[in-house]
C-alpha cells in the first residue's frame, strides 16, 4: 500500500494497565444474525457491482454481432453487384439480350429461338447465354428500337418480317457482320413489339410502298438467306426440311439465293419443266417471298 505508515506509539505502562481492563469489559462480538445480515448485504452489493460489467459486455457483444452481420450483408451485396452487373441491367428485358448471345450462330436458329421462347422471358431471369461471347448491348425500351445504336448502323429503319422481295437477290452486302447486326436489330424490334403487346406499332404497320422501299434498302444489308429464314420461321415452318418434299425438294437444302440461281440456270439451259417444278417447290417453301420478276412467268406457264 502506498499510504504512509502511522508512527508507532506503543502504550506506556499506565495505558497498558488500563487497556487490559478495557479489553476485559463485556462486549464480545456482534450476534451471528447481525453478521449474517451484513455479509448478505455485502454479497448482494458485490454481485450488483459485477452485473453492470456483464450487461456492458453483453451489449457490446450484441453490437459487435449486429455490426458483423451488417458488414457481411453489405459485403455480399457489393460482391453480388460487382459479379452480375449484366444481369441487373438486363433484368427489365430479356429477348434482345438472348438474341445478341446468338450473334455467332446461324440466324435461322436465332429467329426460331426468339419466336418460341420470347414470351417465356418476360418475367424470367436472363438465361445463361447472357455471358456468351457477344457483348451485352445497352438496355433499351421497345419503343426506342428504331433509334437504338445497333439499328442506327443500318441505313433503313429496322422492320419486322415482311413479304420479302427477291428482286434484290443478287445484291449481297459485302460484310456479313453488318448484315447480322441489321438482322438482329430487325428481330429485336419485332420481338420487343410483340412482347409489349404492341403489334400496331407504326414500325410494324401494314406493308406499304414506303415500307417496301425500306425493305429494299434493308436488302442491301441483309442477306437473302436471313430474310428467308425469318419468313420461314415466322410462318412456323421451322424444322421442315427436304424430307417432306422428297428428292424433288433437294434444292431446299440450298440457300434460297442459291436455289433461285439454280432455277435460273435450269431455265437458261431450257430445262423449263425442271425449272418450273423447282420454282413451285421454292414458292411452297417460301410462300412469302416474292418471286423474282424474271422467274414469275415460269409459274404462270
Amino acid at each position: 500500500m502506498t499510504h504512509p505508515l502511522p508512527p508507532i506509539e506503543a502504550l506506556d505502562e499506565n495505558e497498558r494497565e488500563l487497556a487490559r481492563i478495557v479489553r476485559a469489559l463485556p462486549g464480545g462480538d456482534p450476534p451471528p444474525a447481525l453478521d449474517a445480515r451484513i455479509l448478505k448485504a455485502a454479497a448482494n452489493a458485490a454481485a450488483g457491482s459485477r452485473r453492470p460489467r456483464s450487461r456492458w459486455l453483453a451489449s457490446t457483444g450484441a453490437m459487435w454481432g449486429i455490426g458483423g452481420a451488417a458488414a457481411a450483408v453489405l459485403a455480399f451485396g457489393v460482391s453480388w453487384h460487382s459479379m452480375f452487373p449484366a444481369q441487373r441491367s438486363a433484368g427489365g428485358r430479356s429477348n434482345p439480350v438472348a438474341v445478341s448471345a446468338e450473334s455467332s450462330q446461324d440466324s435461322t436458329v436465332s429467329v426460331e429461338f426468339k419466336d418460341r421462347q420470347a414470351p417465356q422471358f418476360d418475367n424470367a431471369p436472363p438465361p445463361s447465354t447472357l455471358t456468351g461471347p457477344a457483348p451485352a448491348r445497352p438496355t433499351r425500351a421497345p419503343a426506342s428500337v428504331a433509334t437504338a445504336p445497333t439499328a442506327a448502323a443500318s441505313p433503313a429503319p429496322a422492320r419486322a418480317p415482311e413479304p420479302f422481295s427477291a428482286d434484290h437477290i443478287d445484291e449481297h452486302v459485302p460484310s456479313r457482320a453488318m448484315a447480322g447486326a441489321s438482322a438482329r436489330a430487325e428481330i429485336d424490334g419485332y420481338l420487343s413489339a410483340q412482347s409489349a403487346g404492341n403489334a400496331a406499332t407504326p414500325a410494324f404497320a401494314e406493308p406499304s410502298a414506303a415500307s417496301a422501299k425500306a425493305v429494299a434498302a434493308q436488302a442491301q444489308t441483309q442477306t437473302l438467306d436471313q430474310a428467308a429464314a425469318v419468313a420461314e420461321k415466322s410462318e412456323g415452318r421451322a424444322g421442315q426440311t427436304s424430307g417432306q418434299l422428297g428428292d424433288q425438294m433437294k434444292p431446299l437444302r440450298l440457300k434460297p439465293s442459291n436455289w433461285l440461281v439454280q432455277i435460273r440456270q435450269l431455265r437458261d439451259q431450257n430445262r423449263i419443266a425442271e425449272a418450273r417444278t423447282s420454282l413451285v417447290a421454292f414458292h411452297k417453301r417460301y410462300p412469302s417471298v416474292v418471286i423474282p420478276s424474271d422467274l414469275a412467268p415460269l409459274l404462270r406457264e
Partner: protein
C-alpha cells in the same frame, strides 16, 4: 508461504466484486468495532444498529475506497461520523446514570490496594468511569486503549489535531485512574 492480504488489499478486492474478500475483512474487524460501539453507546440495541450502519457505509463506499490510510483508520472514521450523527440526533450525549457515583460509592470498599481489587471490580469501576467521560474524551481513550491507535490515527479519525487528541487523552486517563484508585 503466501503472505496474508492486507486490509487495504482486501477492501480493494471487494471493490471489484470479490465478496470473499469482504468476509475476511469483516472477520478481522467486527469484534473491535462492535465493542467500540457498545462502549460508546452502552446499549446493545443501539450499538447493533449503529454497527450495521457503519458496515453498510463501508459497503456503499467500496468502489470509491482509496488506500490513502490504513483501513482500520478509515473504518473507525466512519464509526466516528456515525456516532456524531447519533449524538447529534440525541442533541446531547446521554448522561451517565444519575446514581452512578452513589452506586460506585455503595460498592464495598475492601480498603485494600488497587491491585487487590477483583477483576470484576476493576471492570465495574472502569465501566462507570468511561460512562462519566465526555464523549470526545471517551472516544479518544477507547481508540487508544482498545484499538491501540496512534495519536495521529486518532486525529485522522476524529478530525482533530494531534495535540487536541493528546490533551483529550490525558484528561481521560487521569479521570479513569482517579476512579479506579478511589
Amino acid at each position: 508461504m503466501q503472505a496474508e492480504p492486507t486490509d487495504e488489499e482486501l477492501m480493494l478486492s471487494y471493490g471489484t466484486g470479490d465478496a470473499s474478500a469482504f468476509e475476511l475483512l469483516y472477520s478481522r474487524h467486527k469484534g473491535p468495532l462492535f465493542r467500540f460501539m457498545l462502549h460508546q453507546v452502552r446499549e446493545h440495541g443501539t450499538a447493533e444498529e449503529l454497527y450495521q450502519d457503519i458496515w453498510q457505509r463501508v459497503i456503499t463506499a467500496r468502489e470509491r475506497y482509496r488506500p490513502d490510510a490504513k483501513f482500520s483508520t478509515w473504518l473507525f472514521q466512519i464509526a466516528h461520523n456515525r456516532l456524531a450523527d447519533h449524538w447529534r440526533a440525541l442533541s446531547h450525549r446521554p448522561p451517565a446514570p444519575a446514581d452512578a457515583v452513589e452506586r460506585a460509592e455503595r460498592e464495598p470498599d475492601p480498603q485494600t490496594p488497587e491491585r487487590q481489587l477483583s477483576a470484576f471490580e476493576e471492570r465495574r469501576r472502569l465501566q462507570l468511569a468511561l460512562e462519566e467521560l465526555p464523549a470526545d474524551q471517551r472516544e479518544v481513550v477507547l481508540l487508544r486503549l482498545e484499538q491501540e491507535l496512534s495519536l495521529e490515527q486518532i486525529g485522522q479519525i476524529t478530525g482533530v489535531g494531534r495535540e487536541t487528541v493528546k490533551s483529550r487523552l490525558r484528561y481521560a486517563l487521569d479521570k479513569l485512574r482517579l476512579r479506579l484508585n478511589q
